[in-house]
């Protein structure tokens, strides 16, 4: 497919990206450990907290991220087939899904703030211990994840420009490959956030 030198270079770039993604996995792993430890200490408060989150927003955002993972994977496939229009359209859809996800997240956080559920709010300070821990971890975890969605969306918009300018092509797809890997990791992390925070019974 490629010459041997290009092939090794692409593989090295992917390995570098994977190592970065593994460090991200350990970063979010720390937050999941905190969640598990406090769930074990305050099971009732965590279940009560989970019930106050909106299942519709959680499930809707899950479907959005899964679909955006598909469109970015298809965009890479389209690029490899030199179908640049299709690739651009798919990248645009992925960015659209990222924006939609953030709008949902914003509406969801706004509703929580309206109900006086945010770190340090009067309701949470008066609630039994554990309730504020749940919401503290919720804001920290979904906030850090949301930051990753913003970064991923910006990177994909940059990639879209590069594809338009012809600087990413079917024979030099590395930047799109690595950006897609980052976007999939954002999806993988949400796959764990969703059942743990939204589906506790």
């Amino acid at each position: 497919m490629n010459t041997s030198a290009q092939h090794h270079d692409a593989e090295g770039a992917r390995l570098g990206m994977w190592l970065f993604l593994l460090s991200e996995l350990l970063l979010f792993g720390g937050l999941f450990v905190l969640f598990a430890v406090y769930l074990q200490r305050y099971p009732d408060q965590f279940i009560a907290g989970g019930k106050q989150l909106s299942l519709a927003f959680g499930a809707g955002n899950t479907a959005l991220l899964l679909t955006s993972s598909l469109t970015v994977a298809l965009a890479l496939e389209a690029l490899r087939r030199n179908r640049y229009r299709l690739c651009q359209w798919l990248l645009g859809s992925t960015i659209g899904a990222a924006l939609w996800f953030l709008v949902n997240k914003g509406l969801e956080w706004h509703a929580k703030f309206e109900h006086d559920l945010y770190p340090g709010s009067v309701t949470l300070r008066q609630a039994p211990p554990g309730h504020d821990t749940f919401f503290g971890l919720y804001y920290l975890t979904t906030g850090l994840h949301g930051l990753h969605v913003i970064i991923g969306g910006v990177i994909l918009a940059w990639v879209l420009c590069l594809v338009r300018q012809g600087r990413i092509t079917g024979t030099s797809p590395t930047i799109l490959e690595n950006s897609a890997l980052y976007w999939h990791l954002v999806d993988v992390i949400w796959i764990f956030i969703f059942p743990l925070y939204y589906l506790l019974l």
Binding site: E11, R14, A59, S69, R80, L185, D187, V188, F194, P195
Partner: protein
């Protein structure tokens, strides 16, 4: 064009993976509405792990990667598992 067929197959496989991921999402929501006691959290984690594996193997093309990346992922997951295990060893027997 054999190359083109391979690519069409690849796109079909990605779409099938997405369909399976949506079905598993519906399944995890459905199971969470049934009271299984401690079984709920394990079912949720099991389905999430399955979904993550689908994303990693098919969307992230891990199945086509060389040994170095696969071993790195295993080492990272083993580190995370050790980290979680030791934390619980501390928390539960404190």
């Amino acid at each position: 064009m054999p190359d083109d067929t391979r690519h069409t197959g690849a796109m079909r496989q990605l779409i099938a993976t997405w369909g399976l991921l949506l079905c598993l999402t519906a399944a995890t929501v459905g199971i969470s509405r049934i009271d299984l006691g401690a079984g709920n959290i394990w079912a949720a984690l099991g389905i999430a792990t399955g979904k993550a594996a689908l994303v990693i193997f098919f969307f992230m093309h891990l199945k086509e990667e060389g040994r170095v990346i696969k071993i790195s992922l295993l080492v990272a997951l083993a580190t995370l598992a050790t980290f979680i295990g030791l934390t619980f060893f501390d928390v539960l027997y404190r």
